[in-house]
C-alpha cells in the first residue's frame, strides 16, 4: 500500500479516537501536537490501527514510535 494511502486511513482512525474532525496528521505529528493524546488514547489508537490493518506491533516497536510517520512507515513494512 502507498504511504500516502496509509496516512489517509490512519488519519481517519485519529479523527475517530480523538473525536476531532479537523485533525490532519503529518509525518512529524506527535503527542505534543494533538490535544488529548495521552496513554489511554495512544493505546486505543494503536489497537484500532492493528485491527484496521490486521497487523500486530511488537512491544519494542510501540515504545519506539516517536511520531505518526514512524508508525505509518512500520505499517507499510508490515503490510509488505
Amino acid at each position: 500500500m502507498e504511504l500516502a494511502e496509509i496516512f489517509k486511513q490512519v488519519n481517519e482512525i485519529f479523527k475517530d479516537i480523538f473525536e476531532e474532525d479537523d485533525i490532519v496528521i503529518e509525518a512529524e505529528t506527535s503527542a505534543k501536537d494533538i490535544d488529548g493524546w495521552d496513554s489511554l488514547t495512544h493505546m486505543q489508537m494503536i489497537t484500532a490501527v492493528e485491527k484496521h490493518f490486521k497487523i500486530k506491533f511488537e512491544l519494542n516497536e510501540i515504545l519506539n514510535f516517536k511520531n505518526a510517520g514512524d508508525m505509518c512507515r512500520l505499517i507499510q513494512t508490515k503490510l509488505g
Partner: protein, 480 residues
C-alpha cells in the same frame, strides 16, 4: 557532604578549579575521584556499593551489545536488573519485608521471626540504581550504545552534584555531554551560581523555616486544633517543594558551573490543573522514568485489556513511585491515592473537555480553572499527610481531626517563624506565577543592567544569610 555545609564550601571551588585545569582526557577520572571522595565523606563503604553497581551495569551493557542472539541479551539485562533491584531491596526494603512476613505468619499462627538486618541505607542508592536500570534498558532496546569508556561511565553514575538526590539523569542526555569538550565559559559560571543562590534561598529561607512550624505541629498532633493541623499540612506541601526543588536548583547550578546541563525536575507543579498534570511537573526525572520504563511498557503489553490495562499500569507505576520513597505502607498509600485519581482523570478526560468547551464566559472559565487548581493542590496536600506522618495512625489522626472542623485557635508558634515562612512562600509563588504566565514584570532577578542584577543577587544572598535557617539539617530527599 551536604550542599549547605562548610566542607562543601571548600570542596566545590577546589573541584571546579581542578576540573578546568585538568586536560580533557583525564577530566572524567578527576571528576569520578572527587565524586567518590564526596561520597566517602559520608561513609567509605557507600563507595563500594555504588562501584559494584557501576561495574555490573557497565559490563552487562557491553555484554548485551556483544551477544548476537535475543536470548543472551535478555540474560544480560535480567542479571543487571536482579543485581540493581536486589541490592536496593537488600538495603532499603529487607527489614520492611521481614516485618510484613512476620506479621503475616503471625496471623496464620506460625512463628517465622525473620531477624532484622542492621544496615545503613547507602546515600543516593535509590537515585543511582534507577539511573543504571534506565541505562541498561535503553541499551537493551537498542536506542543507545553501551559506553565503553569506564572513567566516563563512572562519571555518569558518580557525578557528585546529582549523586545523593538526583535528578535521575538519563544516560542519553548525560553521556553525550561527557563526550564533548567543555571549556571555561563565563555564562555557565554566572548562570550556575545564580541557580545555586536561588536554590539556597528556597532551602534555607523557605523550606527550613517552614520545617520549624511543621515539626512543632506534627510532633504533637493531639494538642493541635483542626485549623492548625490543616495549616501545617498545607505548609508541608510548600516545604517539601521548596526543599526538593531548592536542592535540585543547587545540584543543577553546581553542574552548570562545570558546564553540564542536568534535566529540569520541577515545572511549577502547584499550578497544575489536574493530578496527572501535577505528576508531569513534579519530580519529573522520577515520574518520566516511571512513565518510560514501567507505565508505557505495561500499557502497551496489556493494550487489549482496554481500560483495565491502563488501570493495571497506573497502579503498578504509582506503587513503585510510592515505595521508592521508602519502606513504609504510608508511601504505598501515597502512591495509590495518586493512581486512583489519575485513572479517574483519564477516564473522564473527554467528558471534562466537553464540559470545558461549554464554558463560554471567560470569568466562569477562569473560576473553573482556579477551582480545579486549588482542588488539585488540596488533594496533593492530603496525600502528603501520609508522606510526612511517621505512621498510618498518625496520618489518620491528622485527617480525622482536620475533618471534624473542631473549633480551636491557630497555633502560631514563634511569630517570626510564621511570618517569615509565609513571606517566603508568597515570594516563591509570585516568582512561579511570573515564570508560568509572564503576567507582571516582577523581574526581581532580571534587569538589563549588570550592576542592578548584581545588587539584586547580593540582596538575595543577604536575605539568605540574615533569615536563612542554618541548623535546619539535611534535605528531605537525602533519606530516600
Amino acid at each position: 557532604m551536604l550542599f549547605n555545609s562548610f566542607e562543601f564550601l571548600l570542596f566545590f571551588p577546589a573541584v571546579v578549579v581542578l576540573f578546568y585545569l585538568t586536560p580533557h582526557r583525564w577530566r572524567w577520572l578527576m571528576v569520578s575521584l572527587s565524586s567518590a571522595f564526596f561520597m566517602a565523606f559520608a561513609r567509605l563503604d557507600f563507595v563500594l556499593v555504588i562501584l559494584s553497581i557501576i561495574m555490573v551495569n557497565y559490563l552487562s551493557a557491553i555484554l548485551m551489545e556483544r551477544s548476537a542472539g535475543c536470548y543472551g541479551k535478555k540474560w544480560a539485562l535480567a542479571a543487571s536488573l536482579i543485581l540493581d533491584i536486589g541490592l536496593l531491596s537488600y538495603f532499603k526494603y529487607f527489614n520492611f519485608l521481614a516485618d510484613n512476613f512476620n506479621s503475616l505468619f503471625d496471623l496464620l499462627g506460625l512463628n517465622l521471626d525473620i531477624p532484622h538486618l542492621s544496615v545503613v541505607l547507602p546515600l543516593g542508592i535509590s537515585f543511582y540504581t534507577f539511573q543504571a536500570i534506565g541505562y541498561n534498558i535503553e541499551v537493551y532496546r537498542g536506542s543507545m550504545k553501551a559506553e565503553r569508556n569506564l572513567p566516563l561511565f563512572l562519571t555518569y553514575l558518580l557525578f557528585f552534584p546529582k549523586l545523593i538526590a538526583g535528578p535521575i539523569e538519563r544516560a542519553q542526555n548525560f553521556l553525550p555531554q561527557l563526550h564533548s569538550r567543555i571549556s571555561l565559559n563565563f555564562h555557565n559560571i554566572n548562570s550556575g551560581i545564580k541557580l545555586m543562590i536561588w536554590g539556597f534561598f528556597k532551602k534555607l529561607v523557605v523550606a527550613d523555616r517552614i520545617d520549624i512550624y511543621v515539626n512543632a505541629v506534627y510532633g504533637n498532633i493531639e494538642q493541635h486544633s483542626s485549623i492548625t493541623l490543616f495549616t501545617a499540612s498545607v505548609l508541608f506541601a510548600f516545604q517539601i517543594y521548596a526543599d526538593f526543588s531548592g536542592y535540585t536548583d543547587i545540584a543543577r547550578g553546581v553542574a552548570r558551573v562545570m558546564g553540564f546541563r542536568l534535566m529540569e525536575n520541577f515545572e511549577r507543579p502547584f499550578l497544575a490543573l489536574s493530578v496527572s498534570e501535577f505528576w508531569r511537573r513534579w519530580h519529573i526525572s522520577l515520574s518520566s522514568w516511571a512513565d518510560d520504563y514501567i507505565f508505557k511498557p505495561i500499557v502497551a503489553q496489556k493494550r487489549y485489556w482496554g481500560n483495565w490495562g491502563v488501570l493495571y499500569g497506573v497502579i503498578i507505576t504509582f506503587f513503585v513511585i510510592g515505595i521508592w520513597h521508602g519502606p513504609s505502607w504510608n508511601f504505598v498509600l501515597f502512591g495509590l491515592f495518586q493512581a486512583v485519581v489519575i485513572f479517574y482523570e483519564l477516564l473522564t478526560k473527554k467528558s471534562r473537555k466537553r464540559f470545558r468547551k461549554k464554558l463560554t464566559s471567560p470569568l466562569i472559565k477562569g473560576l473553573h480553572n482556579h477551582s480545579t487548581r486549588i482542588l488539585t493542590f488540596l488533594f496533593i496536600t492530603f496525600s502528603m499527610v501520609f508522606f510526612k506522618a511517621p505512621t498510618f495512625d498518625d496520618a489518620m489522626m491528622i485527617l480525622s481531626r482536620v475533618a471534624t472542623f473542631e473549633t480551636g485557635t491557630l497555633f502560631l508558634g514563634s511569630l517570626s517563624t510564621f511570618v517569615f515562612a509565609w513571606s517566603g512562600i508568597v515570594f516563591l509563588v509570585l516568582a512561579e506565577i511570573r515564570r508560568e504566565y509572564g503576567w507582571f514584570d516582577f523581574g526581581f532577578l532580571s534587569n538589563k543592567y549588570m550592576l542592578v542584577r548584581l545588587l539584586k543577587y547580593s540582596l538575595l544572598v543577604l536575605i539568605i544569610l540574615m533569615i536563612g535557617v542554618f541548623d535546619g539539617g539535611q534535605f528531605i530527599y537525602f533519606q530516600f
